[in-house]
Amino acid sequence: MDCRHFALRVDDWLDGRLNLAERQLMQSHVERCPGCRRGYEDAGALRATLRMLPAPAVRPGFAERALATAAAAPRRGRQAMLGMALAASLVLGLGVAMILFAVRPEPVHTVVLTVRQPESVRLVFNAGKPLPGATLSLSLPENVEIVGFGERRELTWQTDLDEGENLLRLPLVAHGPAGGELVARVSRGASSRTFRLKIEVRGADAAGASPALRASV
């Protein structure tokens, strides 16, 4: 056995896919070839470390929130579900940067939703300095709602914005062809900024026809 053959089979050896005769050949080679022995040890160390790689725990409340969001999403037939999955994948991750306390006048951004299909829209608020206790208000157009919030079109809450980018994920669903404007307002003390997100809605038949990602910063 030469080093090339050893290199080709070392994964099979470590994965236990070699028969006895092959294992003996590999063992014999690794005992007399320092380079391959080092590589074999590295491969074993990599595998052992991968096997012990921990994953972070689910954040408290995430499972309940995610299931509640899934439960509140509009029901569709099986065929429509496939369309939703496709459309969601096309729009997932769409981001709109909103520059807080930095840009004037605030630009208007555009996102495209597909009617009756929940889609994740990300708003990124870029704060020039930490803003503890800021008030964030959202106002939604008539045909658009946040999944899980029913017909509530106005939401206001207090939050701490870190310096830099602060991400807000909004699962939005449009119930009709008419779009409109989502208005986000951030205020703290006497200062406030208003941002506008233009929402366009396309018909379900158009789902998947084009990525149609139109966002501008």
Binding site: D2, G35, R51, A70
Partner: protein
């Protein structure tokens, strides 16, 4: 579906290395599957089936991100999204082995350099312990493809980590 959320989240994190992205992936899978939960109850091997759905969603997710005209940071401002930071929160504890922790952190960074298909096969096989036979239906690829994909993924990881990459050509010359 509640008992499956931890499983989905763990796999999603292994695929993405980001808590925010993992949560997005899991949310999308739950949105997709929730109306079919009665059907899920009848599936014998539920976890491999869920892993397959999650994997497809992950590949779509990566492709979509590559197409997106706007760069969106993975972080969500809640701290635990940096792979190394998240790892530090999950790993050894007060008596943790610093050297091993460092290797793990470097492995996470190296995983970032893999294609989504390579990352999926190496994490499902080497971390989660699925056999290649089990991964055929989950990852939707024949055995030979999975073997070569896994081999290349490991080779790339070893190169990224400064390990011996088994460079066959160099060895033949010796």
């Amino acid at each position: 579906m509640r008992p499956q959320v931890e499983f989905l989240h763990r796999l999603a994190w292994r695929f993405t290395g980001s808590v925010a992205d993992a949560e997005d992936l899991v949310q999308d899978v739950l949105l997709k599957l929730y109306p079919r939960r009665e059907e899920l109850a009848g599936i014998e091997q539920l976890r491999p089936w869920l892993a397959k759905v999650l994997y497809r969603q992950y590949v779509d997710f990566v492709r979509q991100r590559a197409r997106s005209p706007v760069a969106v940071p993975a972080e969500d401002g809640q701290g635990a999204d940096d792979p190394v930071e998240a790892l530090a929160a999950a790993q050894d504890g007060p008596d943790g082995d610093a050297e091993r922790g460092d290797l793990r952190a470097r492995i996470l960074a190296a995983l970032e350099q893999l294609s989504p298909e390579q990352r999926a096969v190496v994490t499902m096989h080497d971390v989660e312990g699925y056999s290649l036979e089990e991964l055929k239906p989950i990852l939707g690829a024949p055995l030979g493809t999975l073997k070569s994909r896994l081999h290349r993924a490991r080779q790339r990881l070893r190169v990224q980590l400064g390990m011996e990459p088994f460079s066959a050509l160099e060895r033949v010359k010796r």
